[in-house]
């Protein structure tokens, strides 16, 4: 198991459970290094001061907040230390809510919580309680100097912690305006038909990052000096009857033509709206 990225304790009421935090997800993006194209040397990043024309060592750096263009207020390590962070080593539970009350937009990152030494008992107790009530706890945790909102829930025999965005971190402004767009019953009917055809249970195992796989293959092939080879196709086990699917779409289309179409004017207005937005 990877190294814990945080340790502390869950605290609610009089109870305190020592735990360790592990990342539950990892990005498998393939990363590249920037090279000098002519000689293939890996480029270095240097902290460069254009005023003194020197390279600056870490111990001569400071963090500045730009409050106006080119104007900074400087914060030192001591300044940061003085900040009130009540949940520095604790996960403070403040409320229990239903999981579905938290919209997916709030979720940031997922972590596993594991009990520290000799904390198995209270950990198991909290896990069981959350499982049986089917509730999620809202809490705060400080990771890397940042106090974060988080949700604590039982998942597959483990307590999970998901960091959440604060409400003011969720963007609410949206550019679109659909109030002029008319959707007719027949169009909706066609959409339903397509949705029904492809309705199935969510199986994450079916999905792969094809771009990454192709990229990895390309790298492999380059290493071996070979041509890029195509991965053999995985044949879907779920066979859908094309005749049935076509028949349904054809029927939806026919219904389509039987029904009077919405007035063209209403539709062209919605088109105009769209165009104006693109132009702007």
């Amino acid at each position: 198991m990877a190294r814990a990225i945080w340790s502390g304790s869950i605290s609610f009421g009089m109870v305190s459970i020592p735990v360790k935090l592990y990342g539950a997800t990892e990005s498998k993006d393939i990363s590249f290094n920037l090279l000098h194209a002519t000689c293939g040397t890996r480029l270095q990043q240097r902290r460069w001061c254009p005023t003194d024309e020197v390279e600056v060592p870490w111990n001569e750096t400071a963090r500045g907040y730009e409050y106006a263009r080119g104007q900074y207020v400087v914060l030192t390590e001591e300044d940061f230390e003085r900040l009130p962070l009540p949940s520095k080593h604790t996960i403070e539970l403040s409320a229990f809510v239903e999981e579905k009350e938290i919209d997916p937009v709030f979720y940031e990152r997922s972590y596993y919580l594991e009990p520290a030494d000799r904390a198995e008992k209270p950990y198991a107790l909290l896990l069981k309680a959350l499982e049986q009530r089917g509730l999620t706890a809202v809490a705060t945790i400080t990771i890397r100097k940042k106090e974060q909102l988080c949700a604590i829930r039982a998942h597959d025999g483990t307590i999970m912690l998901e960091t959440l965005y604060y409400p003011d971190e969720i963007r609410t402004e949206r550019g679109m305006n659909l109030s002029n767009v008319k959707v007719s019953d027949r169009e909706l009917e066609m959409a339903f038909t397509l949705i029904d055809i492809f309705r199935k249970p969510f199986d994450p195992g079916e999905y792969h990052d094809h771009y990454r796989e192709a990229l990895a293959e390309l790298i492999e092939a380059k290493l071996e000096g070979k041509e890029v080879v195509q991965a053999p196709a995985a044949r879907s086990t779920r066979v859908l009857d094309l005749a049935d699917a076509l028949k349904r779409s054809v029927e939806a289309a026919k219904k389509d033509q039987a029904k009077p179409k919405p007035p063209a004017r209403a539709r062209s207005r919605s088109r105009t709206t769209r165009r104006t937005r693109t132009a702007g």
């Binding site: 293959e217 005749a243 033509q257």
Partner: protein
């Protein structure tokens, strides 16, 4: 010699004159031609590329096979005034079309008013387009004539979008499937489209054949042509009972089915980067005003290739570069056009599916 033959003979004779410009006489019309020795496909042929004169000669030779496929169809063209290596742009409307060109007035939601579209019904119009550098011909999938399978449909195309939607131009003759391989050879420059290479083309043919078998199992016959570039165009001729919305839904349904059957090979993705390594199944061309490059249409490919109709049992033996401005007239002369009867092979999709008694 037939009248058509005589006309072709006369044009070819006139093109033989080794002058860079001339006034061509076709029937009672005249067409000024300029820059006849301008190279449009620098990399093609054995000596110095294909010129505008080669293009005009090609179009004249194939016109007996090409014109029937353009008949009655509003069209637009992709113009390459400086040849296939230069800039290109679409032209949909012509302010002053020549007297011999047929036009049709159609409501354009984009222009919010009526616009004139060209219909390429005769050799003179075809050569006029070539003179303007319009190498690629994009005829609509619907046409202005109602006979025989759209009897009674309106022929009023102008005035409003509603008129156009009710008209026969909203009822395509074909459901089209555009197979575009995003299989890179590895020799492409950064950001370039995948180039034509054997492996990708074979894989595309293989997918096309499976789609053909799939549709054949439903009793449907589909036609195939090379795109003239890297992919294949499949046309399913249908009785004009369905509008473009329906034809697009049908194509999309086939596409989604293909994706489900062969997820490792097929993609319907919009983002080009996600198409990498797969064959893009494009159903979106089934839309009024959209089009694929016509059958026998010259393409933007260095070797001067054209979009060539092929017999299914020949698909294994052909390669897109077999079909160029140089080779195609002879091939047509010898074997004819496998798509000649495509409009007589129309299928009543609704009836077929009903007779199968599918759910």
């Amino acid at each position: 010699m037939t009248q058509v033959g005589a006309e072709i003979g006369s044009v070819l004779d006139q093109l033989e004159a080794r002058q860079p410009k001339m006034v061509l006489t076709i029937d009672e019309y005249t067409l000024p031609l300029t820059n006849l020795d301008k190279v449009l496909w620098p990399g093609a042929g054995r000596k110095g590329g294909f010129t505008k004169r080669d293009l005009l000669r090609y179009l004249t030779l194939v016109s007996p096979w090409l014109l029937p496929h353009l008949k009655g169809r509003p069209m637009f063209t992709t113009r390459y005034p400086d040849g296939v290596t230069g800039k290109s742009f679409y032209q949909k409307h012509w302010d002053k079309p020549p007297a011999f060109a047929r036009t049709v007035t159609i409501y354009s939601s984009h222009n919010e008013g009526d616009s004139d579209y060209l219909i390429c019904d005769n050799l003179a119009t075809l050569l006029f387009l070539a003179q303007m550098g319009g190498l690629e011909l994009h005829p609509w999938f619907s046409r202005v004539d109602t006979l025989p399978d759209a009897r009674g449909k309106s022929k009023k195309f102008s005035g409003s979008e509603e008129n156009l939607e009710r008209s026969v131009l909203n009822y395509p003759d074909f459901v089209v499937l555009d197979l575009d391989p995003y299989l890179y050879s590895g020799r492409e420059g950064k950001g370039e489209e995948p180039e034509l290479h054997r492996k990708a083309f074979r894989q595309t043919c293989d997918l096309a054949r499976r789609l053909r078998d799939l549709l054949a199992s439903l009793g449907l016959e589909i036609f195939v042509k090379t795109s003239g570039r890297t992919g294949l165009h499949l046309y399913l001729p249908i009785v004009r009972k369905f509008d473009y919305d329906a034809s697009r839904t049908i194509a999309e349904t086939i596409g989604r089915y293909a994706l489900q059957q062969w997820p490792g090979e097929v993609t319907l993705e919009w983002a080009v980067v996600r198409r990498t390594g797969k064959i893009f199944f494009d159903y979106n061309q089934n839309s009024r005003g959209k089009s694929l490059a016509s059958i026998l249409c010259p393409r933007r490919h260095p070797l001067g290739t054209v979009s060539m109709p092929v017999e299914w049992d020949q698909l294994d033996q052909i390669y897109p570069t077999d079909f160029t401005l140089r080779t195609v007239p002879g091939l047509l002369e010898e074997h004819g056009d496998p798509w000649e009867n495509i409009l007589s092979a129309k299928q009543d999709l609704a009836q077929l599916l009903e007779s199968r008694g599918a759910v």
